[in-house]
Amino acid sequence: MSFLRRRKGTDSSKSQNLRCNIVKEDEKNNLYESPRKESYNSKKWSCWDKGLTVNHPVVFVPGIVTGGLELWEGHQCAEGLFRKRLWGGSFGELYKRLEVIREASIKLTDFYMKLIPLCWAQHMSLDNETGLDPPGIRVRPVSGLVAADYFAAGYFVWAVLIANLAQIGYEEKTMYMAAYDWRLSFQNTEVRDQTLSRIKSNIELMVATNGGKKVVVIPHSMGVLYFLHFMKWVEAPPPMGGGGGSEWCAKHIKAVMNIGGPFLGVPKSVSGLFSVEARDIAIARTFAPGFLDKDVFGLQTFQHLMRMTRTWDSTMSMIPKGGETIWGGLDWSPEGSSFNSGAKTLRNNSINNTDQIPNINLANMKNVNYGRIISFGKDVAEAHSSKIERVDLLDSMKADMLANLTNCDIWIEYHDIGDHRIKAVADYKVYTAGSILDLLHFVSPKLMARGGAHFSYGIADNLDDPKYQHYKYWSNPLETKLPDAPDMEIYSMYGVGIPTERAYVYKVTTATDCSIPFQIDTSAEGGSEDSCLKGGVFSADGDETVPVLSAGLMAAKGWRGKTRFNPSGIPTYIREYSHAPPANLLEGRGTQSGAHVDIMGNFALIEDVIRVAAGATGKELGGDHVYSYIFKWAERINLQL
């Protein structure tokens, strides 16, 4: 093992970074010479000596939104788009058509502008009842590495990692992109496309053709939950499972390297479901400005988007799990104080260090009630729970259900519920992670009924209860046991140091009938500059999308050692990467970024992945690598293990 030899000389990660920085400088020079798009593509981890070679096959599991989708069958309006990307890639053909028509026919604008984006939204939507294809439309995931290497032209997702792995000899036969339709609920990908079976068969094939070397799995974002689901599915007996037997994971998987994994959900998904105001949409908007901004949908852009995203079951997989135990109640939260972006020191083994955490910071700040994921009005968000008057939601549910059906031509469930119910929602004032479920059930019963059949958000009291054999629990780490594979390793790798949405301040809009009745109260600002309340959003530490709590808790506490969630004692490692914004424009999206998607271009993370793929264990990487207070927060959480 040549890298071991290398390690003898440099056991501190600092000197490594130093060397790598030098190389990066060289690359910058290259960039100056030829600042073309490809040059970013060819960014290589050139720190490597020749020593590392292909060892374990690698499986990528892309997350939500990043995977490409293509059209296989569509309505009249999508003629000529057969097998063209509807999502991801470059959005090419579709967007081009739009552009061309816009330029050429100014008179007809109104007609086309309405038609084409509507056509797109129509094809991207799923059936509202079943969560599967609507009749006459088949949109399928793109397969192969091209599925998620770039999200849009020049906006890499997996490309940098793939390029670096190829440097040490990986190629198509040793790399596999487990592309799946990220709009579907996890079990439905198997029902409709047999995706899970394909992944199983491909992993078996790769293990067989690479001399019995186990695979290293690298899921990202929602792919983390998807793969968790897969590991349960593959060992469960048919017809519900894949029938791989109880030793399948032990035989086939060396390590699961979760990148930015929302194990316990993301608060962002709540705002997404509640009122479509998450930043994912904002990302989409920057890529396809024509679609979303330019009055394309008229004033009803958001409603259309909401209607589309609400047909996607997968968004419900990321609703915060574990309720108040994990995410905090009305008056407490594991994070306690506000997000402090100043102190960024490496805190390995921070269980010992918890005393040293500067309490001054805590005293300075107002205690932030992160536990209240949604509150109506800023004052409510900050008041103590005893001072808040709440009207019980259930009471108002009993109230008259005669909804005044509006004439809106678009369908969202908000129009099925009456004004007074909207008022009731606002009157309840404050919602924690537990009551948020009630809220969603209240405002969109059909959606939650569909989602409830596929996902569960609780904490299991007794994991041996036979009901937990149902697939809806498989993607919730708090309601499943890890497989019996003591040699496997689980990594939680995520960025820290970026303010991440954690809780929201909402207001009721008094606008027209056909708009969404709730909005984030963007006028709510914190008092001081350090305050973590900005534009109606309370931020905590995280990677811009996933809070540290969700990404790290399972590895820090839930699965650490032999627990009831991890009966065979699979070793877990936390690898945090402190966010450093790109130093200059030429670096593109940064080689030290910690942001949710940009972290895939983080050289330190790529180094870790490559070394594990080449055969290293978590101990050899250096074990835990922690910047945040995750261990301290984990202690505050009263989770029975």
Partner: protein
Amino acid sequence: MASVLRFRKLCYVESAVKCTSVGYESFEIDEKLDKKEEDVLSANNFALEINKKRKQPKRQPKEWRCLDSCCWIIGYLCTTWWLLLFFYHCLPVTLLRVPELPGPGVRLKREGLTALHPVVLVPGIVTGGLELWEGRPCADGLFRKRLWGGGSFTQIFKRPLCLLEHLSLHYETGLDPQGIRVRAVPGLVGADYFAPGYFVWAVLIENLAKIGYEGKNLHMAAYDWRLSFQNTEIRDHALTRLKSKIELMYISNGYKKVVAVPHSMGVIYFLHFLKWVETPPPMGGGGGPGWCAKHIKAVMNIGPAFLGVPKAVSNLFSAEGKDVSYIRAMAPGVFDSEILGLQTFERVMRMARTWDSIVSLLPKGGEVIWGNMDRSPEEGHVCDFSKKSHSKTSLTTNNVNNSDVKRGFLVKDLANYGRIISFGKPASVLHSSKLPTADSKEYSRTSTSENFNNFSCGEAWTEYDEMSRQSIQNVAADKAYTTTTLLDLLRFVAPKMMRRAEAHFSHGIAENLDDPKYNHYKYWSNPLETKLSDAPDMEIYCMYGVGIPTERSYVYKLSPNSRCKSIPYQIDNSVHGEDGSCLKGGVYFADGDESVPVLSAGFMCAKGWRGRTRFNPSGIATYIREYRHKPPTSLMEGRGIESGSHVDIMGNFALIEDIMRVAAGATGDEIGGDQIHSDIIKMSERINLGL
């Protein structure tokens, strides 16, 4: 659209106005219109210069007029060019696309056909895409970009030598050269389009999708078509992947057997696979004797090159043939550019000779199948290049009569198809007894001492450079070669290549198929040296186009110049037969689909495997489906919906319909059994093969 019209009007008005004014002002329009058009600008500068020169001799009106009209022409050309460009960009994308005719998919869907059997597509040679995984510095920035097929070749136009270097394999091993990894593009994109707008599988895929096919029951078995078949397994595990994929599709589609649709060389690749999968490891896939019977419903071979193609001979011998000219047409920049100079062919030949797969396409079965010096199975074939009317009338008469009519036409210089290479026209026509006979095996390559070429030419590119002039002439003196002696010839002119490739392929006929030597993989892709697997329910289709003259044998000559690094032989394009003769430009043509002669495509289905034979012990049913070539009637049809040519047949609606019906569950008898237009049955009767 209104605004466009308005703008166009404006342009016209403007240019009209300008035209009335003094001549040399015309360039101003262009400058106004588009400054980015560098061509326009440079042209204008040119015009300006001429104008400047012109100003001085104002007194000579005649010369003045000449120059003036020159400027006018340049100005007009630039303006029209720019206008055309402008309108091209203004047109909506939908109008630019050739309106697609509704394929049979829509109709069959209405009939109620739905996806039943999973479908595996196996692409042929040249059509599969290749992408770069590791390369030399000259290919920087092309990581995971297409080197071959698919998207645009534009990137590679800029560095043609780099392309040739990366597409070549190692001459000794037939695997990757040091430091270069070029791999097949996986998935349907691997071979749906060869170049933008030039479909290969796309039409078939689209029609299959109409009745419900999608990623989970449609698979493209992409492989690196440059390698020998067994090497695709050794390097990329391509066969193992295909096996696993078929098993997965079989299980996940409710235990429905797979319909395989190989094309061109994919046919013999798949034949190799069928043997490989049932053979025990380590040489085979270990699927066990029942694997094919369990997993495969039908093999629908499109344009099958079962017994090889004569074209491969000319390709290896002198890098000529239509494939090359076809590539040249597709990528003029690569092969005709100044960079390569006059040595294009040599470089291409050097590259092509590193590809083992081309050797797999050499004619198989020797003189028994392809004919000897004086007889060939196609004897009496009438070539009617120009007589379209004749072929039309013959369509109406029935088959037997038709061939009788042809007999009557029997021409003076009978085509000796059996002589696959002859030197000089007389050698191709004369009776064998009059030919000087010499055995090429007598030649020795001991002439290295007199090998002065090597010193003067530096690096040896092709193995021809290692041959002395004397031995080159000896080869030509031998006059005529049949398929059997041809192999000796190739062994003589390119010993290293043949040594490498013959470890992977064999071109003979088996005497005794139970001989244990036939368990070796090099025999698996030769239908005359393997038994079909024991799968009586399986069906084998031979589907190919007929009615296009197809290269069958060649007349060669020594190339005039004895320059360094030139290929010493070339096809004698000056040789033409009389009217009605099959000889044109040094090539004898026979019936076929432009690449594969009918004999090679149809013989196995017509005779070799028909019924229970020693090649087909379990009596697998075979069907011949021929499609008569009809050129596209109008431009709108693109490459034709009734084409029979080797690649274009993939867009033939009749063929697509057959495939879809079988995929949806029909058997060969249900789609109409045999459908024969050519003389294939007669030809195979003439072939004396022990069954």
